[in-house]
Symmetry: none
Amino acid sequence: MARPPSSLRPRKKPVQPRAVETYAWILEAAAQILEGQGIGAFNTNLVAERAGVSIGSLYQYFPGKQALLVALMRREKARFSADAAAAQEASSGRAALAHLVAAAVRHQLERPELARLIDVEEARPEVRQEVESASDFRKLLRATLDRPDLPPQPNPDRATDDLGDIVRLLVDAAGVRGESDAEALERRVLGALFGYLDGPAAR
Amino acid sequence: MARPPSSLRPRKKPVQPRAVETYAWILEAAAQILEGQGIGAFNTNLVAERAGVSIGSLYQYFPGKQALLVALMRREKARFSADAAAAQEASSGRAALAHLVAAAVRHQLERPELARLIDVEEARPEVRQEVESASDFRKLLRATLDRPDLPPQPNPDRATDDLGDIVRLLVDAAGVRGESDAEALERRVLGALFGYLDGPAAR
Amino acid sequence: MARPPSSLRPRKKPVQPRAVETYAWILEAAAQILEGQGIGAFNTNLVAERAGVSIGSLYQYFPGKQALLVALMRREKARFSADAAAAQEASSGRAALAHLVAAAVRHQLERPELARLIDVEEARPEVRQEVESASDFRKLLRATLDRPDLPPQPNPDRATDDLGDIVRLLVDAAGVRGESDAEALERRVLGALFGYLDGPAAR
Amino acid sequence: MARPPSSLRPRKKPVQPRAVETYAWILEAAAQILEGQGIGAFNTNLVAERAGVSIGSLYQYFPGKQALLVALMRREKARFSADAAAAQEASSGRAALAHLVAAAVRHQLERPELARLIDVEEARPEVRQEVESASDFRKLLRATLDRPDLPPQPNPDRATDDLGDIVRLLVDAAGVRGESDAEALERRVLGALFGYLDGPAAR
DNA sequence: AATGAATGAGCCTTCATTCAT
DNA sequence: AATGAATGAAGGCTCATTCAT
């Protein structure tokens, strides 16, 4: 009979090498199905099959479908954060911003559909806090806005939200439209950001 | 199992007054479930029940679940377009842009969750072309960009996409965060747009 | 995904004659599987198949496996209670007691294994209150103990519990051993009861 | 799915001291889960975990789930029998009976839920013969009935069954109701037994 | 001997859709 | 036109058992 729904945290850490591989295969299979067939086709049986693993193994590591999705989100977030964190070392605020955008664009264009679907899924309330959304990105962005060479914002937290949204959205939308010119995309996103930041004149 | 729906178009146009009402009830029930319980709870049986109509009747008007969703999207789009169209009569490009944004914000804040979910669903490939996405809005926006008082854009189609995305995204995100101050939101969105449009000069 | 567990009450009352039949078939199939193959083989798919009904139909009327079991318990209890109730009209307490025991024995020997399994399942805490266990029988028994021709008991509620247990147990055990002589069984059970009631004097 | 267990007998006798301990731990874990969470939660993986043993080890000692259950039943039966056997040495039949009942009550009140669940499981056909049910108790009871100070029974085997059932049932039911006064329970059970035995008048 | 990763049949339940009335 | 009973494929998840290490 149906049991109460499981947690969203992974069930057990794989320790033996074989288990580590299995765990990784499952996550990668999940990623592939998500990007290739969409969220509608994302189901645990298919993921297990694609991973070349039994359904039972999947449930050894993930307590449920949601948890699998969350783990995948975390994986992607970790990959991205490692890249974006270097932005802090940029010499100016504008350079740091450029670095952040570059990282976002790079990450997006690597697996566009996957990134977009994850963005969408992350907006779901049940999942939201579990992944702490784009928190790392958000923190970096927030810190960058205080850099002295960037125009001071009346409401920097709001500006952080807005800028974060703009980056995510433009970049997602570009992925959907199939753009693949990273530089051009970066330039446009940066343009939008600086427009927003410098904009007080227009507002 | 579910066979592929014969089509995404409504099955038959309701002509008799009672049928028109039934049709509208079903759509409204769909909207309420979507915004109240999310896409996960959106199923035909529930919609029928909420509409006070038998499941059989629902299938008289809509060939399937997808078609119901598409019809709802069209309804929302039509409501919005009627409002946005008046922008064309504004005396300046900036005024027209302001009108468009105002319409978007108004529409969004009216039923924020519904609007956001529809935006998300519209991004799904199967549905995409069927609704011709934000086409009306896009056309209005595109035309506005050619107004003489707005800075000429090197690639106006691209700019149209970007601006459209920015509006949609910012407005959706605001809805998610529960903002309800329409004027403030309009101002911020307009700021972002003008920042984007005027930006090249500043850079 | 697994949803929260459903209630234990039937989902919807069958109204159309066809539905009434379906409902009854399902319950009877459940009874047959229970008595024929035991609780271990009792699963919704098998019940539906045995009932000659789709699994979906089963779930139209019963929100889950437990609920099906509970409904079956209620059906059996109702059948038995109707029979036992007539005991109240007996002219003496001893006669009433004899009537109650006769009803219990009759009910038990009709479908011994079914009755026994239901007794066992009724003891499970989740189900307990839902069926209000042998409450009808218990009430009748309790009332009977107050009849003037029966020896007064120091603790009549306790005596009611004990006597009820004795009847149930002896009768279940007899069913398990395959006894089928109703009269003999009645006599022995009555013997045990009167022994218990009259006992204090002898001790 | 699970294949039929090769046998219900323990797979191998533990001989080394450590193995004896492991064996005992597993049984005790099984007992704890049974009484604490019920038969529904009783599964081999959980038992192994609770016993602090790998699932593989569990299967070294027990060929399957059923066998584990049977071994537990035997353990409980052995504990009880050792206690009950002393009844034979009582000077009178009535005293022997009292001793038997006292042993049964003692055993029951020690771990009431465990005892009850085992009684229920023992009634299952597959397990029945394997444990030879309450045979020891039954033999002792049977022998006691022939003692000269007890009223002769027309059908002593039947009486043995009935009396055994009465003891088991009353005592189980008391456990379920949470009674913990051993003396009072003994007195009531004895009352019922003597009532039954002396009862010829009523029969 | 012990471990624990892996397996997969089986069972519960939902929901899109059909069709007899 | 409407009703709602019925269908059954699909998908989530568990747990008894095996087997490579």
